[in-house]
């Protein structure tokens, strides 16, 4: 447990002194629950910078893939390597915004305060972070009374509070109004501009066009297609991706 503390001190000293997390390399990743095969020999290589969007039908394993990358689960077989390190070794250097945000039973500000304090960061940043995600007025309100969009923004602020080198986002804008979607995209883009590597799961085609450098399309437990965003949308190479883009169900 003490190595977490050491890590936090190291991050204050500067990320440059530590081995880089990227490139990411995923080899023959298999995830199985009994007879259910979720990932079936998935291979993927991601470069050092930018925003990668992961797309795929419901149940194609996007959420579980993110959790594997983040070191929250063990694969059945295969390996994930963040610059040579295991996911569980680098969890603290990443942040994951969950599909359904879990907020503490405290005020909005106390939710951020808790993360800053537990990670040994400057607690004076709470106000600035809330400002950044447009929740300054809600600081003293119970976090669990926030609307869906506000809760997502708080979850994003909490993720940013840990100064992650990699930001994993699981459909953070599903069920948000258009203005909130743009607000979240803006915040993510700013993080990206500061050098944070973004890996983003979405079903929103417009969002993928606006944000993505490259698209990873998951199907049948594998990467059906990994191409630059412009290519993916103009000329998807795989049949299933074409069906997905045209809104057709594939069995």
């Amino acid at each position: 447990m003490s190595d977490v503390g050491a890590m936090t001190i190291a991050s204050a000293a500067g990320a440059a002194s530590r081995p880089a997390l990227l490139p990411l390399s995923v080899r023959d990743l298999v995830l199985r629950f009994g007879n259910t095969i979720v990932l079936d020999g998935l291979n993927l290589d991601l470069g050092a910078t930018g925003c990668t969007m992961i797309m795929g039908f419901n149940g194609s394993g996007k959420t579980l893939f993110l959790k594997l990358l983040h070191g929250l689960m063990q694969p059945t077989a295969g390996c994930v390597s963040w610059g040579g390190l295991q996911p569980a070794e680098v969890t603290a250097r990443q942040a994951l915004v969950f599909q359904k945000p879990v907020l503490l039973r405290r005020s909005v500000a106390a939710n951020l305060d808790f993360v800053l304090r537990s990670r040994g960061k400057d607690r004076a940043r709470t106000g600035a972070l809330l400002d950044h995600v447009g929740l300054a007025r809600k600081a003293d309100q119970p976090a669990r009374l926030l609307s869906g969009g506000e809760a997502q923004r708080l979850a994003l602020a909490r993720a940013l509070a840990t100064d992650p080198e990699v930001l994993l986002l699981d459909e953070p804008t599903a069920s948000l109004d258009p203005a909130s979607v743009l607000a979240i995209e803006q915040i993510v883009s700013e993080a990206r501009a500061r050098g944070t590597r973004i890996i983003f799961v979405t079903h929103d085609m417009g969002q993928a066009r606006r944000m993505a450098d490259d698209i990873v399309f998951l199907h049948n437990g594998r990467v059906a297609e990994h191409s630059a965003a412009t290519d993916f949308f103009s000329e998807p190479r795989s049949e299933t991706a074409r069906h997905y883009l045209n809104g057709r169900i594939v069995v």
Partner: protein
């Protein structure tokens, strides 16, 4: 038959008079009761909450066994606890040199042993449910075990308050343990329940009824407190 009813009626009148006039003997008994049971509740929480939290988030061998024991201990018969504490504190017992038998301290010890398992078992359930909800987020944040426990205890504070009140309710109402280790000595270890038991058998129904009334009011008060805590917490979405 008519005589008994008549007697009860008179006694009830006297009892109400005792309560309303703030009879010093009565107050002494009530305050000792509250002091003993509140102190026992505090100690039981001091022991029971950390144990409950550790079992709630722990994944260790023999955990199921621990759960079974904890739940079984919830139903400890007060007289058995009293007897065990008596055996330890009696002059020939291992802790006899402390000279605690027939003191309020002995009563506090007995009630602490009686309700600590209740606090531990109930808080374990509360904290485990909360941990189920939080654990993935906490693992993502790489919290230490201590940070996790502290966060769970704080976020479950309203539920845990009701757990503490449940422990207090059991302590203040039990008679078996305190009568054995306290002995119901006037002005020293006489609490509400032992006084009721003794005065009833001696035929002093007025004092017994007066104390019974107060005990009832305390029980109602505890329940009202539990309700209002729940409602406050729910209103703020803190449960």
């Amino acid at each position: 038959m008519g005589n008994i009813l008549q007697g009860v009626g008179d006694a009830l009148g006297l009892a109400i008079q005792l309560v309303l006039s703030g009879d010093p003997d009565l107050l002494e008994i009530v305050f000792l009761s509250l002091r003993v049971s509140l102190t026992a509740t505090a100690f039981a929480c001091l022991v029971g909450l950390p144990v409950g939290a550790l079992v709630a988030i722990g994944r260790f061998r023999g955990r199921n066994g621990v759960l079974i024991v904890m739940n079984a201990l919830m139903g400890l018969p007060p007289v058995v606890v009293g007897l065990l504490v008596y055996l330890h504190l009696s002059r020939s017992g291992p802790l006899g040199f402390l000279g605690l038998l027939y003191t309020p301290a002995a009563m506090i010890i007995a009630q602490t042993i009686l309700i600590a398992p209740i606090v531990a078992a109930l808080s374990r359930q509360v904290l485990e449910d909360l941990h189920m909800e939080y654990s993935e987020q906490f693992r993502s944040l790489c919290l230490t075990r201590l940070q996790t426990i502290r966060a769970l205890l704080w976020d479950a504070r309203y539920s845990l308050l009701t757990v503490g009140l449940a422990g207090f309710g059991r302590a203040v109402a039990e008679v078996g343990a305190v009568i054995i280790v306290g002995g119901n000595i006037d002005h020293l270890t006489r609490v509400m329940t032992t006084a009721i038991a003794l005065e009833t058998s001696k035929g002093d129904l007025a004092l017994a009824l007066a104390l019974g009334l107060i005990l009832l009011i305390i029980a109602l008060g505890v329940n009202a407190a539990v309700q209002s805590v729940r409602m406050t917490a729910a209103r703020q979405a803190y449960v």
